[in-house]
């Protein structure tokens, strides 16, 4: 796929950094070049958290995404901030549970996913981000779903097998949603 850049953005508590970490780890497992760049800056409080993941077949020059291919936007401020920056032809993955607005640009695709609802239904309220990541990779093929499940395992297993099981399920449900197999 050459080089793709994905931005994840949302409130602090929405697990956006974890999504990025899972994606980057998955890329690494596939022996791709990957970079993970968080927005850092504890010097100012509040606001949204975001991170940029680059997955590439060649060495990565800049880990920054001026014009990301994909954007995973978990709340309204994130949509407002990033909509204008998506590369033409790119895709926004929107947490439709938290964002009522819809992007106005005609040159980008939008995938709206009620990740909170899905996660709630799975009894894993904190797993909305995993639902999203499942949806993202299933839709984009950035990495394989298998790699995502593998990296989730490596990350969550130490937190207990229940957490791990629940998150794996969430990932799969996210993937299933974009396959149209699920309605929230």
């Amino acid at each position: 796929m050459g080089m793709t850049k994905t931005i994840f953005s949302g409130f602090g508590g929405q697990g956006v950094l974890m999504m990025g970490y899972v994606l980057a780890t998955s890329g690494m497992y596939e022996d791709k070049h990957v970079t993970y760049l968080p927005s850092y800056g504890a010097e100012v409080r509040g606001g949204t958290a975001n991170c940029t993941i680059t997955v590439s077949d060649e060495p990565i020059a800049s880990p920054v995404a001026s014009f990301p291919d994909f954007a995973v936007l978990m709340n309204t401020p994130s949509l407002m901030r990033f909509e204008g920056r998506i590369k033409p032809g790119g895709t926004i993955f929107l947490n439709s549970d938290m964002v009522e607005l819809r992007p106005k640009r005609p040159d980008i695709q939008v995938v709206a996913i009620p990740v909170n609802s899905i996660a709630d239904r799975l009894g894993n309220a904190r797993g909305a981000n995993m639902v999203m990541i499942g949806a993202l990779v299933q839709k984009t093929g950035l990495v394989s779903l298998k790699s995502v499940i593998k990296s989730a395992k490596s990350i969550f297993e130490k937190k207990g097998s229940k957490v791990h099981r629940m998150n794996t399920l969430a990932i799969k449900e996210g993937a299933a949603f974009v396959d149209g197999e699920l309605q929230a």
Binding site: F11, G13, G46, N75, T76, P77, M98
Partner: protein
């Protein structure tokens, strides 16, 4: 008993819940809604409460509010 009321600016509110504990009349609760910045703001609930749970305009809620989201009025 003095009579008062408050006004909460739910967009300034960060849902810290300090006013909720501070109000001697327990007239404030945390909303289940999210505001634009992603917090569950405080809600003033006097109307729902019975007679002897009236706001006195004591301003304790406002004094502790870190975000000056509460204005207090007295008749």
């Amino acid at each position: 008993m003095k009579k008062g009321f408050i006004r909460i600016n739910s967009e300034l509110c960060k849902g810290c819940g300090l006013c909720v504990t501070a109000c001697p009349k327990a007239l404030i609760r945390t909303s289940s809604k999210l505001n634009i910045t992603g917090y569950h703001p405080a809600e003033y609930t006097e109307r729902e409460k019975s007679k002897n749970r009236k706001c006195t305009g004591c301003a304790l809620c406002a004094i502790i509010c870190p975000d000056i989201a509460i204005e207090v009025f007295r008749d």
